[in-house]
Symmetry: C2
Subunit: 239 residues, 2 copies
DNA sequence: TCAAAAGTGTTGTATGTACACCCATGG
DNA sequence: CCATGGGTGTACATACAACACTTTTGA
């Protein structure tokens, strides 16, 4: 648009990478694919691929997710752009600029490999590394971003099925933040935040087989939380 | 990396766009350039340009800023990636994926046009629109992002000279948020946040010519604020 | 009747807000 | 001596953390 020198049109490849997260059995998991080709053949990586000429990065992200992991038309898929990684040496073969996304899923179906992915699998977050390319860093950035989003938005409901209990919602916070929370206080904060959750009239469900049946809630539709639900203080770092 | 079909290498142009903000005389300003070429010739736009083959987007952003506005090696320039805009139709000529940045400056020097920019100028934020391309949206996203960053990081000091008074710091918050703040409470919050600011021993400066000389502070080096400095409640939106 | 999970109540402390008030300087 | 901006004190309301307690279910 500006700066029409002769290097301007040097070809760039533009790709997307997805950090797809879910909470399974109280633990944070990430969706990985095993690479079928060099470089990094046989290594695990985030799903992703090339953006095609007529599609936006967001569209490409959904398409690649479907192609490589079989997760197509997943209900409740929440996609959000993370940032763009553009260091010249991040891909050993050529100049690749990658737009990274985070995606959140409730109650995840089993994925299956496809396209260039030899296989696809849910992997516990803590056992995911090391990954191919600079995906360790992308994954860490995604985790940090999602943790922060939970404080200020109703995003946690994107990890939950359409109707969920407050206990399940709390598990999401605990899994992402890696901290136990006080149940009574958590419950009060959530209910005191307008638009965070909406009760499902009369409905109840047993959670672990035992215990009192819990009331069910739906996402309340609020984009931002007032007041925010702040995580317990990671103490001030020294100056 | 995955998906080696023949459309994969279709050429994309990758550009950067910069939303450079500053606070002048208590009001938020943005750095704009007048376009010298079609499309949108004569219209105002955010500075920016093509990423070159051997540089990262961050490097390109600094280079373009220097070329188009003469702001080179500005002390205290804070650059931060905003997001990437990739809609296929955002540039009428060709497929352009643009990585947008926010940049903050204290006490800004006068810019001068250069490269493809006919001229460059600081423009009050409220009078900046309409801009070329999708730059209205990028500018709005940048404003929103900076407003949020002020709550949780020491970013506001990036708008201030190396040594500043608490009154100047407060003006930054008020200009970006568009809200007046209570001075005594603002002062206490800032001083109660470890690592936000550090006093300059014994130093003082007159602010508006009149009034008591104010103590001087330097950035305290803390990346994140504990506790955060939340903006006055934009009230809960209806569900 | 016990364990497990949901849900309610209470209390001390911290925090935020809205002010009133004093201090130092230039005109 | 007044206007202007810096700086301190205080009182009220609210919010939050911690923990005791009750309720309802399956085994």
């Amino acid at each position: 648009m500006r700066g029409y020198d002769k290097h301007a049109y040097e070809p760039f490849a533009v790709t997307v990478d997805l950090a797809v997260l879910t909470v399974r059995a109280g633990a944070l998991h990430v969706l990985l694919v095993e690479r079928g080709q060099e470089p990094y053949a046989g290594r695990w990586a985030l799903p992703g691929g090339f953006v095609q000429p007529a599609e936006s990065a967001e569209t490409a992200a959904r398409r690649e997710l479907a192609e490589e992991t079989g997760l197509a038309d997943v209900s409740g898929l929440h996609l959000e752009q993370l940032r763009t990684y553009s260091e010249p040496e991040r891909d050993p073969r050529m100049r690749v600029v990658s737009v990274a996304f985070t995606a959140l899923l409730p109650d995840p179906p089993e994925p299956h490999g496809g396209g260039d992915a030899a296989q696809a699998r849910w992997v516990p977050y803590d056992g995911a590394r090391p990954l191919a390319f600079d995906h360790d860093r992308i994954l860490a950035d995604a985790h940090e971003r999602v943790g922060a989003r939970l404080e200020h938005t109703g995003l946690a409901t994107a990890f939950c099925p359409p109707e969920f209990t407050l206990g399940e919602l709390q598990q999401v916070y605990e899994a992402v933040w890696g901290t136990p929370l006080d149940r009574p206080n958590f419950r009060r904060k959530v209910l005191a935040t307008p638009g965070f959750v909406a009760p499902v009239a009369g409905a109840a469900r047993l959670t672990g087989g035992r215990g009192k049946p819990a009331a069910l809630y739906r996402p309340g539709g609020a984009a931002v939380l007032h007041p925010p639900l702040l995580r317990p203080s990671r103490e001030g770092r020294p100056a």
